[in-house]
Amino acid sequence: MLKYTLKRLAALIPKMLIISIILFVGLDLLPGDPLARSIPYEQYKEMSEAELDRMRESLGLNDPVHIRYVNWITGLLKGDLGYSTVTKQSIAETLSNRMPYTMELCIYGLIVATVIGLVFGFCAAVMKRTPVDYILDGSALAGISIPEFFAALCLMVVFAVELKWFPTGGRIDPEGGSRIPYMVLPIACMALHYSATLVRSVRTNMIEVMDKDYVKTARSKGISEVVVYLKHAFRNALIPTMILMCMRIPMLIGGFVVIEQTFSYAGVGEIQLKAIKYGDIPVAMFILMLSGVLSMIASTLADLCTGLLDPRVRLE
């Protein structure tokens, strides 16, 4: 298992390098003068070519692309994330203001969604082809089908504008009140979508496992139904579900672009969208790189979990 783990981890390094090169070159190829993205257009057009060139030189934009890439990647490795070209502010500082909030939202959201998804998925499988199953499965299907932005707007209109139970947006109460009200709607919106996916996954896997020979054997040995469901069926049905859960880890950084945007929750997802919209390349590049790295780690983690739970994977 150790050899398998080391092998998987070592494979990450070239993958990360390839991702960084694709990202850097891809964003570098964007049309237009990069300097035009860093200063207001009205000012840009007023500046003389000499002034523009001086500014390009100071920002290192006159260097060839490979030099800029090396500067960027060595900067990253040293912990120097650079500055936003739009706000002129430190990227590290900007992200440190946002990342904890996004991670907090994601962790709570994942916990709520996972618990709901596992419990309801389990219930739907156990009560297969009963009204409870139909209701849970139908709701899950609806949860997957409704776009996040629409669900977010519906929640906002009902619970914030009409009932006034929660604020429409933000993440901190200026009066020093609890932060929970600011988190409820974004978490509910996230849980709605993610738990629906889990319900469907757990239900399908459980039903599949229930037909396996080892479950039939367990039943024939006279083991109680509860033990059969929980120990033999549910545990084995969790393997594909675990992979699904691991693959959600990148959300901890990338956040939920739509949800954060709709609820004005100042997190990483919101700034990622803004960076792309305003052509803030250093910010967009770093967040995309981080998301890419985290996706690879999640994928590796899923592989390792699968290997841990299913020895056949390691042998193959």
Binding site: P31, G32, D33, A36, R37, P40, Y41, E42, Q43, K45, E46, M47, E51, M55, S58, S84, V86, T87, K88, Q89, S90, T94, N97, R98, V112, V115, I116, V119, M156, A160, V161, K164, P167, T168, G169, G170, I172, D173, P174, E175, G177, S178, I180, P181, V184, A188, A191, V226, L230, E260, Q261, F263, S264, A266, E270, I271, K274, K277, Y278, G279
Partner: protein, 559 residues
């Protein structure tokens, strides 16, 4: 089995309680419901804050915006003070940091007498050095939007190049600063008067203006205005409280909270929910938006304020980035035909009384409006006659670009497309939502650009927007315009005052009307909303289009 189910149920209950509970907190979710109401509400002593939207051009991240580089919310007018402010309706000038300012007869020398006894929010006295420092910052900061006001000072070039540490055109004697310009300009008092003053002592001794906006000062700026910042949590909110040692009259509202809403839609939802008390153009783009808010929250009132804000088309007469320029657009008769195709009055009517169709870029309500310059709002037959005569290829497609990303403008551009369709001229309308990154915009791959802008305030409003747009490079054809004598006339306009200035402006407008380099559409009033249940604002504030003097002393928080 029972134990397992019980554990499961308990777990579910805990999760549900965690997520949706805290009934005591949910009651406090709306800040306007949560705040402690002062029994003496309506008096200046009320502790109840006024809530406003925190909006910054580049986004709210870790620093406040530098007002020299652009103003997107009202915070700079609360925290900082300019040298002087102008009531654009009456022409009355309010002296702030400057005790008085004078412009010499040759319109080249400005003398500023700095007021004594002003204190910064940290208790330090404001000195002449602070004013000099602020002028240096406005000139040398590469991101400053006020450079144009100082770059014709004697020695400005050497200073910005870093060749000298001092400005030849800036002399200090006691509390008097003298600015000497190399060319005459009638609007110098306004240009210089608008300058917001920063405290020199809050910056390093050897300040580097190239990175001026990145100094820690901008994390928690100190000003000398009526309000001081007491708390700033990026990017969520900041709080202001009135500055007890303010040199002017104390503001009527003691506390103000600016809250961040990432998008306009989020801001509108917050307004409907009563979380914002006051909204300007950044929030309420037009009357339709304001009415939507009022329908859903009747506590809001909409006020239209006069504004020299215009919308118009500019022709792109330089080469297009994609090489698809239309040579015939260089013919002024063809441009006139385009003007006859677009129905200005119909476009203005979309704004339900807030806009008025125009033929020159000037406010029709101004007494100096040149009423003799009038053109038919739309005449397709005449336009077609011109286009046929000039040999316009009706298979050729023109590209119209715009950047105002609001529904009304999207609708308007579709209407313009219909006008062109009606004339049989093929046309594509395209929204460059973020101009800085849009190749259509940056590479000038358009034939017509739909733009909007404010005229600088200068009573009696003779700072014709038309002139500033003339200098803009969008139009191109600089040689052609120079030959026509625009530059000479503009120079004369800039260096005269009074009736003569108006005369030159009229001549310039007549030339532009004839040449059709730009097609004026309409003038648009500003729209402001405020929550009448929570705050009261003096009517006189709405009579000015300039926001540099907001009469904070007359604002009140109500119950």
């Amino acid at each position: 089995m029972k134990r397992a189910l019980s554990l499961l149920l308990v777990l579910m209950m805990v999760i549900c309680v965690f997520v949706g509970c805290a009934p005591a907190d949910t009651g406090s979710t709306n800040p306007n419901q949560n705040v402690q109401k002062d029994p003496n509400a309506g008096t200046p002593a009320s502790e109840t804050p006024m809530y406003m939207q925190w909006f910054q051009g580049g986004g709210v991240e870790t620093t406040f915006e530098n007002p020299h580089c652009g103003v997107n919310s009202l915070y700079p007018y609360m925290v900082f003070e300019p040298l002087s402010a102008l009531n654009t309706k009456t022409g009355e000038r309010y002296w702030r940091v400057a005790e008085s300012m004078e412009l010499s007869e040759d319109l080249k020398i400005v003398t500023i007498n700095v007021r004594q006894g002003i204190k910064w929010h940290d208790g330090q006295p404001l000195t002449v050095d602070d004013v000099v420092f602020s002028i240096h910052a406005a000139l040398a900061n590469p991101y400053s939007g006020q450079k144009n006001n100082y770059d014709s000072l004697a020695g400005a070039q050497a200073f910005t190049n870093g060749d000298t540490d001092t400005l030849d055109g800036l002399q200090v004697e006691g509390n008097t600063i003298t600015l000497t310009y190399t060319s005459a300009k009638a609007t110098l008092l306004n240009d210089v008067g608008n300058l917001m003053i920063f405290p020199k002592h809050c910056f390093p001794e050897n300040v580097d203006f190239a990175v001026f906006n990145s100094y820690d000062y901008w994390k928690f700026p100190i000003g000398c205005g009526p309000y001081k910042i007491t708390e700033a949590v990026f990017p969520d909110y900041f709080k202001l409280t009135r500055f007890e040692d303010y040199f002017g009259e104390q503001p009527g509202i003691k506390n103000v909270v600016f809250k961040y809403y990432g998008t306009t839609d989020a801001g509108l939802a917050a307004a409907i929910n009563g979380e914002i008390d006051f909204g300007t153009r950044q929030l309420v783009t037009d009357k339709t938006v304001a009415n939507n808010i009022i329908v859903q929250n009747s506590n809001f009132k909409m006020v239209q304020t006069a504004g020299y804000y215009y919308r118009w088309f500019r022709f792109q007469l330089d080469e297009r980035g994609d090489g698809m320029e239309k040579a015939l657009l260089r013919d002024k008769e063809v441009r006139l035909a385009f003007d006859l195709i677009i129905d200005n009055d119909a476009m203005a009517s979309v704004y339900e009384g807030m806009a008025e169709g125009i033929d020159v870029l000037f406010s029709p309500s101004d007494p100096n409006y040149p009423h003799h310059l009038q053109r038919e709002s739309q005449n397709i037959d005449k336009a077609l006659e011109i286009l046929n005569r000039k040999g316009w290829d009706f298979e050729d497609e023109i590209n119209i670009c715009y950047y105002q990303n609001d529904q009304t403008t999207h609708d308007l551009m579709q209407f313009v497309k219909q006008c062109f369709d009606q004339a049989g001229v093929k046309c594509t309308v395209y929204c460059a939502e973020t101009p800085a990154t849009d190749p259509t915009y940056t590479e000038r791959n358009f034939d017509l650009l739909y733009v909007g802008g404010n005229a600088a305030a200068d009573y009696p409003a003779v700072q014709y927007l038309y002139l500033t747009s003339y200098q803009d490079s969008t139009i191109g054809a600089a040689d052609e315009r120079r030959e026509r004598g625009y530059d000479d006339l503009y120079e004369k306009y800039e260096s005269t005052t009074g009736e003569q200035r108006i005369k030159y402006a009229h001549q310039l407008m007549e030339m532009d009307f004839e040449d059709c380099y730009q097609l004026p559409c309409f003038t648009l009033n500003n729209c402001i909303i405020y929550n009448t249940q929570n705050i009261s604002i003096p009517e006189s504030v709405f009579e000015m289009e300039s926001t540099t003097y907001m009469e904070w002393e007359n604002w009140r928080v109500l119950n």
